[in-house]
Symmetry: C2
């Protein structure tokens, strides 16, 4: 190995390649195991610094079949899209490595440099903070995030622009910025320094060193994939189960004019949903037979089937299990979908997964904050999240289970598993109490609605939607 000026020791390329491939296969081998990991590499930098070349060289050294590359031109932020939405579906599964050329940071830079009303410093720093929180959530969920900035001095950039081979231009779209302007270069450098303290910075004056520094950094990370999962913090403080869960209201609060009001409210809600400029996510949770399906049916009654999407959530598939648990929800909420309805939700993590032990203690204990961040990001992107807990008494559930068993076309709705879940009624109450206490936020409040009386419940659900749409 030869010591270099900038401290990089060049490794023998064959040795480097062998070690990279070994590390790659070791990572691949973790798939499905308790130490499973995946690696997400975010790549950004100065134009012509050579990030494409460095990734190309890396892909020659590794087994290229197990290193995926996603390349998108940076885009400006869409006001109805969280920063992670364009990238969520490319999240690597356990054992995989994904390189992202376009990523949330390049979008942030592009938005700052291009938009007529640029992002101010406070907003910029707020974005960076949310991005880091998102990455920490990824790490806690076994996606290691590596960030690499390819840097180049103003002088070298000018020289490379002078020397550019027109045939190579294709891969060096300059994204509409004038790289001849020292002022633009300087402002970009100033901006990126607001977020690159936790990045690997690669000085790209020398190509061989650039490629080695990049590959060696990847190798080191692969070899020492850190254990990111934070420990559960001390003893869990169980929330008190509120009366709204213990004894849901029994008597119909009102009986008169129910039908008329229901019709009118349905229409009002449909219009409110349709003409709101924001997107709306309706999230339904509740014990079995609490009436989630009926409530949803009432809401969509006055909507056109092309206006909404309903997702019924059950146990995750294997390909979903090999990614962060929120991943399947990230991908179901789409900016172009006006109304998205969930029959059961991401709260499964702190309900059934907690109770059945599918999530470890530290996983579900960490989930409340992850979920809050998720909903806050949506809220920040013009997406209203309306959450319902439909509360039912244990007796009423039993009555409904029995009625289902006796009604031919409802028999499908009741299984042995429903009876088994019922045995864990108290556990569900405890978990729900914790959930309500920890995730009832200003930006995504819970609506706890007693459904012992179905008609009243339907009215209340509709009213709650109207109220939240108006309040926000």
């Amino acid at each position: 190995m030869a010591a270099q000026d900038n401290g990089i020791q060049l490794m023998n390329p064959e040795q480097l390649s062998v070690e990279l491939i070994e590390a790659q296969y070791a990572l691949k081998d973790t798939k499905g195991k308790s130490n499973a990991k995946s690696v997400l590499i975010l790549v950004s930098g100065i134009e012509l610094a050579g990030k494409g070349e460095a990734v190309k060289q890396l892909r020659e050294w590794v087994d290229p079949r197990y290193l995926r590359v996603k390349a998108d031109a940076p885009q400006t932020f869409n006001h109805k899209q969280t920063f992670w939405q364009p990238y969520a579906r490319f999240m690597p599964a356990e054992g995989q490595i994904m390189v992202m050329f376009g990523n949330w940071y390049s979008d942030l830079l592009t938005t700052s440099m291009h938009v007529s009303k640029p992002i101010d410093e406070t907003m910029f720093d707020d974005y960076v903070e949310r991005m880091r929180a998102y990455e920490q959530d990824l790490k806690n969920n076994n996606v290691d995030v590596i960030k690499v900035w390819f840097d180049l001095s103003w002088k070298s950039l000018q020289k490379r622009l002078d020397d550019m081979d027109p045939g190579e231009v294709r891969w060096h779209k300059l994204h509409g910025l004038d790289w001849r302007s020292k002022k633009q270069y300087d402002s970009l450098q100033k901006l990126r320094q607001r977020f690159t303290d936790d990045w690997e910075i690669i000085d790209c004056e020398n190509e061989a060193e650039r490629d080695q520094q990049f590959a060696q950094y990847i190798l080191q990370t692969l070899k020492h994939c850190p254990e990111h999962q934070s420990k559960a913090k001390g003893r869990w403080k169980q929330a008190k189960v509120p009366d709204s869960l213990l004894t849901p209201a029994e008597a119909p609060l009102e009986k008169e004019a129910d039908k008329d009001e229901l019709k009118q409210l349905s229409k009002k809600v449909a219009e409110a949903l349709r003409f709101d400029s924001r997107n709306v996510v309706l999230a339904f949770e509740g014990m079995d037979a609490a009436g989630k399906g009926g409530a949803i049916k009432r809401i969509v009654k006055k909507l056109d089937p092309r206006e909404y999407e309903i997702y019924t959530i059950s146990a995750p598939e294997n390909y979903e299990l090999s990614r962060p648990y929120l991943w399947r929800f990230w991908n179901k909420i789409q900016p172009e979908e006006k109304i998205t309805i969930f029959d059961r939700t991401w709260y499964g993590r702190v309900l059934v997964e907690r109770i059945e032990g599918f999530a470890s203690e530290r996983q579900w204990q960490r989930a409340y904050e992850e979920i809050n961040r998720f909903e806050k990001d949506l809220y920040g992107s013009q997406t209203i999240v309306v959450k319902f807990w439909l509360a039912i008494s244990k007796d009423e559930q039993e009555a409904r289970f029995k009625a289902r068993e006796e009604t031919p076309h409802k028999r499908f709705k009741i299984t042995q598993e429903d009876w088994r879940n019922r045995e864990r009624w108290e556990d569900y109450l405890d978990s729900t109490a914790d959930m309500l206490e920890r995730t009832d936020t200003a930006y995504a409040p819970w609506h706890v609605i007693s459904t012992n009386d179905k008609n009243t419940a339907r009215l209340e659900v509709l009213r709650a939607i109207l109220k939240q749409l108006k309040a926000d």
Copy 2:
């Protein structure tokens, strides 16, 4: 029930709803079983006939959570996209029902009515034939396809245009056609009659009858989901194993100037791939250790990592198994991806799945033609499919297995399963022979290349790519 003029007997709506829900749950219940089915409903028709309303009414009668709706404005064909590509990812999984408002027929009509150089009758009929073949393949793979045309007379259409409530306009985009023009109406009717003989035609003069006819038709189909799978045709005629598989060439055909030629060829191939106006799919099959990885590495050496995508195919996931077996490949080949490389392919159906019994006899016997149609559709959409069988002798495989076991960074590449597969060497030869005989087509020929000598093999692979790109 009251007999109507057009022969529809109106059912009691509650009864209809109960029967629909029962049928829906029965379908849902087939998931994962041997009689598993899904239902795809293609909906098209005259503007303002009320297809949206009919689907809305249907969704009120069924459990809306288990009837998904996909609505897209019809689009004109993109010349690099097969007709099924925009819709493939919305294919319903076992137990699911999916309604598609935008579909390949609406795209065909839109293309015919809008494009400056319209599709001539022969081309139109050719499209219809391919669409029907595709639907038959879906049916054979347990996706029932239902096609419903909502019809309306010219006179009624004019009346509805007169009466239209401007507030409702949003859902009645007229797709740029002048529905006041009798001529345009007539030509659309003439066109659609070229494909609607196997459609359910619904006369939409009367709204209540329209909704009932549609819902009853869906109900009948759900109740009597036909067994579409065609039987295996008589005795299987096993192809003779060709010498190219039995005794792959041993001696290097050439030794001189190999390295130089390899370098030059690599560069030539990269340029040919990059500058070809079409997309390219490179498909690699071969026994274990035949050198698929090495061949791919050589091809991508001169490409930028953003120019290609490599898919390494292994056993399908559950969510893939609950859809037609080609589905996961439909979704991996994307019009915007210039070069897509497969390390193992859709031929798994007639190789490992045949040999291990994962596919039934009639499934794998039917697969050859399904695969041929799939590749022909790609070819028709400016996508070149270059297929390689890398042939190796049994002795050479053993030598490579042993070498892998002895080389630290290659040990990952060899498992007990590889040794087990080796025991079925003769079965693989037979299956490969059948595959070569039945899928070596003019539009997607096989290149059988001996890889006993790795250097020669790499040259041959590169030459074959160049040859096929030039030939087409």
